[in-house]
C-alpha cells in the first residue's frame, strides 16, 4: 500500500474539517490553559490552506506540504503557527518531489516534522504540548512498522497512541507556552495543541485507511 498525492490532499482537507468541527472545543481547552484562541487560530490557518490547496494540487507532495507550512506560518500566528508551519515545511522537505509515499517515507516525514517542532519550540515531551501527542504517535508508527504491521494497522495504532498521549497531558504540569504561567493550576486540563495534533494523526489514519 502506498499513500497517493490525492490521499495527502484528502488528509489535509480532513484535518481542516476536523479542526472546523472541533473549533469551539479547542478554544475551550485553550480557555482553561491559555488565551482561548487555539481553535480560532488553527481554523483560520486551515481555511487559508484550503484556499491555496487547489493551486498546488498538481504539484509534488513536497511542494504541497511546504505550501501548507508557509500558509500556516503566515496565517495562524501565536505559538501554533510557527510550530505547525515548521512541521509541514520540514515534512514537505523530507517528501521531496515524490508523487506518492511509502510507509517509510511517511515515517521519515513525521520524524522530520516533529524535529522541526522541537527545534522551533525548544520543548521536550512531558511539558504538556503538542509533542506529547505527536511523540507517541511517531514511536508507535515506527515500532509497528518494525514489527512488520501493514501500514493501515500502523497508522491506526499511531493515531491511537496519539490519543493516549493527548489524554496523558491532562495530569501534566505545563512548562512551555502560555499554559506554563498557570503552574500547578495547569494540572487537570487537556492541552489544546496536543488535541489538534491528535486530530492531525487521526485524520491521516482515517483518510489513508478508508476502504482498506
Amino acid at each position: 500500500m502506498v499513500i497517493s498525492k490525492e490521499a495527502v490532499l484528502a488528509w489535509i482537507r480532513a484535518f481542516a474539517a476536523a479542526v472546523e468541527q472541533h473549533k469551539e472545543y479547542l478554544t475551550e481547552l485553550d480557555a482553561a490553559l491559555g488565551d482561548a484562541d487555539h481553535g480560532a487560530n488553527m481554523h483560520r490557518g486551515l481555511q487559508a490552506v484550503l484556499d491555496r490547496l487547489n493551486g498546488v494540487a498538481d504539484r509534488d507532495i513536497g511542494t504541497i506540504l511546504r505550501t501548507v507550512g508557509m500558509t500556516l506560518v503566515s496565517s495562524v500566528g501565536g505559538a501554533s503557527g510557527p510550530l505547525y508551519g515548521t512541521f509541514f515545511l520540514r515534512a514537505g522537505t523530507a517528501a521531496g518531489t515524490k508523487m506518492e509515499l511509502t510507509a517509510d517515507d511517511w515515517l521519515q516525514m513525521l520524524e522530520a516534522g516533529i524535529r522541526g517542532i522541537v527545534d522551533r519550540g525548544k520543548a521536550r515531551r512531558g511539558e504538556k504540548t503538542m509533542l506529547d501527542a505527536l511523540g507517541p504517535g511517531l514511536d508507535t508508527l515506527k515500532a509497528s512498522l518494525q514489527e512488520g504491521q501493514p501500514l493501515n494497522e500502523a497508522l491506526r495504532r499511531s493515531a491511537e497512541a496519539a490519543r493516549e498521549g493527548m489524554e496523558a497531558t491532562i495530569p501534566m504540569l505545563a512548562t512551555k507556552g502560555r499554559a506554563s504561567y498557570l503552574g500547578e493550576r495547569s494540572v487537570g486540563h487537556q492541552d489544546p495543541g496536543a488535541t489538534s495534533a491528535y486530530l492531525l494523526l487521526q485524520t491521516a489514519a482515517e483518510t489513508w485507511t478508508a476502504g482498506a
Binding site: D37, V73, S75, G78, P82, L173, R178, S180, Y181
Partner: protein, 333 residues
C-alpha cells in the same frame, strides 16, 4: 458579549482602518500582510525599530508608531502573535539601511514568529537584532516556564529605544540599551474583571463579584493568586512590594513609575493607584523622577491596573524626555 464591533473576525482590520483614517499625518497602514508604519518611513541611515504582538492591547503597539518611537508595528489577531510575513514586509518597508531592531514580548508565539522573521530577513541580507522583554514578576518559577512575560515595561522600552534610534544610535548600541532597559524594569498587574475575546464571545475567566486576580497577564492568563477584593491601597502594596523586591530597587535609585490601566479602568482609579504607589516609593527611598499614568498596554475591556518601575540612568532620562509624536504618546513636538 457587549462590544461596539461589527463582526468578531473584522475587529483588527476595521480598527486599523480607523487608525489610518484618524492619524494619516503620523502613520500609514498596510494590509495583507498587516502592519502600521511611520508616514515618513524609511528614514535613511536610521535603525528601524519594529515591534508587534497580538491585538487588543491598544494603544500598544500600533499607537506607538511615529517619530521618536516605533518605525513599524505588526498587529496579530486579538491576543495572537503576528506572523513572520508581517514583520518581514514591515521591515522591508521601513528599513533605512542601518538594520532592524525587533522588540519582542516574551510569549512563545511572539518569540517564535519574530525568530522566523529574523531568519527570513537575514537570508535576504537585512541585518536584525532582537531583544526579548520579560519584566512580569508575577511569574515566579520562571525556570520552569516560558519565563517571565513581557508587559508594561514594553511601553517604556519602545519610547526610550525609539528616541535613541531617532538620535542615530546604531544597531549594537540600541540592542545594548534595550537590554539595559529590560534588565532595570519590573512590572506586575491585577484584574478586577475578565476581558472577552471577540471571537470567543464569553469572558476568558470568571471572577466572583468579591474577587480579584493578582499577577494577571495581559491576555487574561491567570495570575499568582485569586483572592477577595481588597482596598486599593492594599492591592497596590501587594503589587509594589513584589516589583520593588525583585530587582531589587534600592534607596536612592532614580525611577520612572508607570501606573497602567488594563482598558476598562476609569482614570480616577488610576490616580488613586498612583497616589499609593508613589507613597510607597517614597517610603522605600526611591526617587520618582518621571511618571506615566494611563491605559497604554491593555487587555481589551479588562478592569485592573499594572505597576511598572524602571530604574533610570542619565541616558534613559534624556531619551525619555526626547520628543515623541505618535497617536498614543506625544510630547515635545
Amino acid at each position: 458579549m457587549k462590544k461596539l464591533i461589527n463582526h468578531p473576525e473584522r475587529v483588527v482590520r476595521e480598527a486599523l482602518e480607523g487608525l489610518a483614517a484618524a492619524h494619516g499625518d503620523l502613520v500609514r497602514v498596510h494590509f495583507d500582510p498587516d502592519y502600521v508604519y511611520r508616514a515618513d518611513a524609511p528614514v535613511q541611515g536610521k535603525v528601524a525599530v519594529i515591534s508587534g504582538g497580538g491585538s487588543g492591547h491598544e494603544p500598544m503597539h500600533t499607537g506607538f508608531v511615529g517619530q521618536g518611537m516605533l518605525d513599524a508595528a505588526c498587529p496579530g489577531q486579538v491576543f495572537t502573535s503576528p506572523t513572520p510575513d508581517q514583520m518581514v514586509e514591515a521591515a522591508k518597508q521601513v528599513h533605512g539601511g542601518a538594520g532592524v531592531l525587533f522588540i519582542v514580548k516574551n510569549y512563545s508565539g511572539d518569540v517564535m514568529n519574530f525568530e522566523m522573521a529574523a531568519e527570513l530577513l537575514e537570508a535576504e541580507g537585512i541585518r536584525t537584532a532582537s531583544v526579548i522583554i520579560d519584566d512580569d514578576v508575577a511569574v515566579e518559577n520562571s525556570l520552569y516556564t516560558q519565563g517571565r512575560r513581557g508587559v508594561g515595561l514594553t511601553v517604556l522600552a519602545e519610547k526610550i529605544v525609539g528616541a535613541a534610534a531617532e538620535e542615530g544610535y546604531d544597531l549594537e548600541q540600541l540592542k545594548a540599551l534595550l537590554e539595559r532597559v529590560n534588565a532595570n524594569g519590573r512590572s506586575m498587574g491585577m484584574a478586577l474583571t475578565s476581558c472577552t475575546v471577540p471571537h470567543v464571545g464569553k469572558p476568558t475567566f470568571e471572577l466572583a463579584e468579591d474577587e480579584m486576580e493578582i499577577g494577571i497577564g495581559i491576555h487574561g492568563e491567570p495570575g499568582r493568586q485569586r483572592m477577595k477584593l481588597k482596598p486599593a491601597d492594599e492591592v497596590i502594596t501587594m503589587l509594589f512590594e513584589s516589583v520593588v523586591k525583585d530587582l531589587p530597587f534600592q534607596a536612592g535609585d532614580r525611577c520612572l513609575l508607570f501606573v497602567n490601566g488594563m482598558g476598562g479602568t476609569p482614570e480616577i482609579e488610576l490616580y488613586i493607584a498612583y497616589r499609593k504607589a508613589k507613597a510607597l516609593a517614597d517610603e522605600y527611598g526611591l526617587q520618582v523622577v518621571r511618571s506615566l499614568v494611563g491605559s497604554y498596554i491593555t487587555s481589551l475591556e479588562m478592569q485592573g491596573v499594572s505597576l511598572t518601575l524602571l530604574r533610570l540612568d542619565d541616558e534613559m532620562i534624556r531619551l525619555w524626555d526626547r520628543p515623541v509624536k505618535t497617536p498614543g504618546l506625544r510630547w515635545g513636538v
